[in-house]
């Protein structure tokens, strides 16, 4: 919570010391946006209990996401763009390009009901990708975030075949200009990390912030284990679905309205 206040103070200092008009305007716009994100942000900090750097992730927390497909904007791709920007993905959507989050259209042919929703790694509690990985590179962190340890991934792609959600991609070509917080490289499989680099410093994943900033508020991120937290409360009070619940994977990502 401290960090949050600091972050805010930093911003106002910056606003005061900038001197070019365009920059100031930009910052003003930024401040408005920051205000908009404040509400979910506060909720998020409320459940996160900022973890000191030397403390490992804890089993007491399970990170999860609730996506309201009724609120997801028609044709809006803010979450996808924000993910690409945060994680240094190219944004291309060819068969060999990495996509960590995609917008999916679903339509009921009988009733004509139409929804859009973002699809990403569901951070399964019982992840098939981890089951099949021959090297131990696919792994689940104590707080439920499923990751690939690129140091030992051999690029065999078993996990890609095992994932029911097509959530994983293989990096086919050498990469340059990676983000310092998000190492990625040729020959390794990768997928959504829930922006683990942001979560570890008490921020929500980039897609969630972007959705809020775009005014849709369709994505909620938080600790599923915190009964008083916003996400557990929402899950308790509203009907929600796991995609392919029949597989018993107990996904960390849940959907409303489908």
């Amino acid at each position: 919570m401290n960090q949050h206040e600091n972050a805010h103070a930093d911003k106002s200092v910056d606003t005061l010391t900038t001197d070019t008009a365009t920059r100031r305007d930009f910052l003003k716009a930024g401040a408005v946006v920051a205000g908009a994100t404040l509400a979910p942000g506060v909720l998020f900090y409320g459940v996160a209990h900022s973890r000191p750097a030397e403390e490992p992730a804890s089993k007491a927390v399970r990170w999860g996401m609730l996506i309201n497909t009724q609120k997801c904007g028609d044709g809006c791709k803010s979450c996808v763009t924000a993910c690409n920007e945060e994680n240094g993905l190219s944004g291309k959507t060819g068969p060999q390009d990495s996509q960590w989050i995609r917008k999916v259209d679903i339509r009921n042919l009988q009733t004509g009901a139409h929804h859009e929703l973002p699809m990403l790694c569901q951070h399964c509690e019982n992840p098939p990708c981890v089951d099949v990985c021959p090297t131990g590179a696919s792994m689940k962190r104590a707080d439920g975030i499923v990751l690939v340890d690129r140091h030992i991934c051999i690029g065999c792609r078993y996990c890609m075949m095992a994932c029911p959600y097509k959530a994983r991609s293989l990096v086919h070509e050498p990469l340059t200009e990676q983000k310092p917080d998000v190492p990625r490289g040729m020959g390794c499989v990768e997928a959504c990390t829930f922006c683990v680099q942001r979560v570890d410093r008490d921020e929500a994943p980039a897609c969630v912030d972007a959705c809020t900033q775009a005014g849709h508020n369709a994505m909620l991120f938080g600790n599923l284990n915190d009964a008083e937290g916003p996400i557990a409360k929402a899950l308790k009070s509203m009907a929600s679905t796991e995609v392919r619940a029949d597989l018993n994977l107990n996904t960390g990502v849940r959907y409303q309205g489908i």
Binding site: D10, A34, A53, A57, A142, P180, R201
Partner: protein, 149 residues
């Protein structure tokens, strides 16, 4: 008796070996072809003694990478990102863009292949000069850094 003379001979061999190790070093100090490393910026001192780092940086990094990735421990003292922030050269802004840059200079001298840079960024995160100051990750990055050792 036998044992004693063997021991003596052993010591002789060891001394010879040490002499052998030292000889190229003194030549090197005379300025033959030791790598010239670009100066580190930032802190005046490395996180560990230079001699220790020369021999053990790979072990520290390997240990740290497992702690960070698998356990979520985010201390910055032995993080690769920290190395890059201090050791990126003035000229290229990178630790591995050309032969004179910090990592490459030494590794090509020692003839040890480097795999880190297939995935990791060789340049420090761009500071607010390039990135808008209001960027959330830039802001919290700086507040977080203060809390770490």
């Amino acid at each position: 008796m036998m044992a004693k003379s063997l021991l003596k001979r052993g010591i002789g061999v060891m001394l010879f070996a040490v002499g052998g190790l030292l000889a190229p070093l003194s030549v090197a100090q005379a300025g033959v072809d030791v790598p010239k490393l670009p100066p580190a910026k930032g802190a005046s001192k490395c996180v560990e003694d230079t001699d220790f780092m020369r021999r053990n940086h790979m072990d520290l990094l390997k240990h740290h990478r497992d702690d960070t990735l698998r356990l979520g421990i985010r201390t910055t003292k032995h993080s690769l990102k920290g190395c890059v922030e201090c050791h990126a050269s003035e000229k290229t802004g990178s630790v591995a863009a050309n032969k004179e840059d910090f990592c490459v200079a030494c590794h090509s001298y020692a003839s040890v292949k480097l795999d880190c840079w297939g995935c990791h960024a060789t340049k420090p995160a761009q500071k607010s000069a390039q990135k808008p100051a209001g960027h959330p990750s830039a802001v919290s990055g700086s507040t977080r850094a203060g809390g770490d050792k």
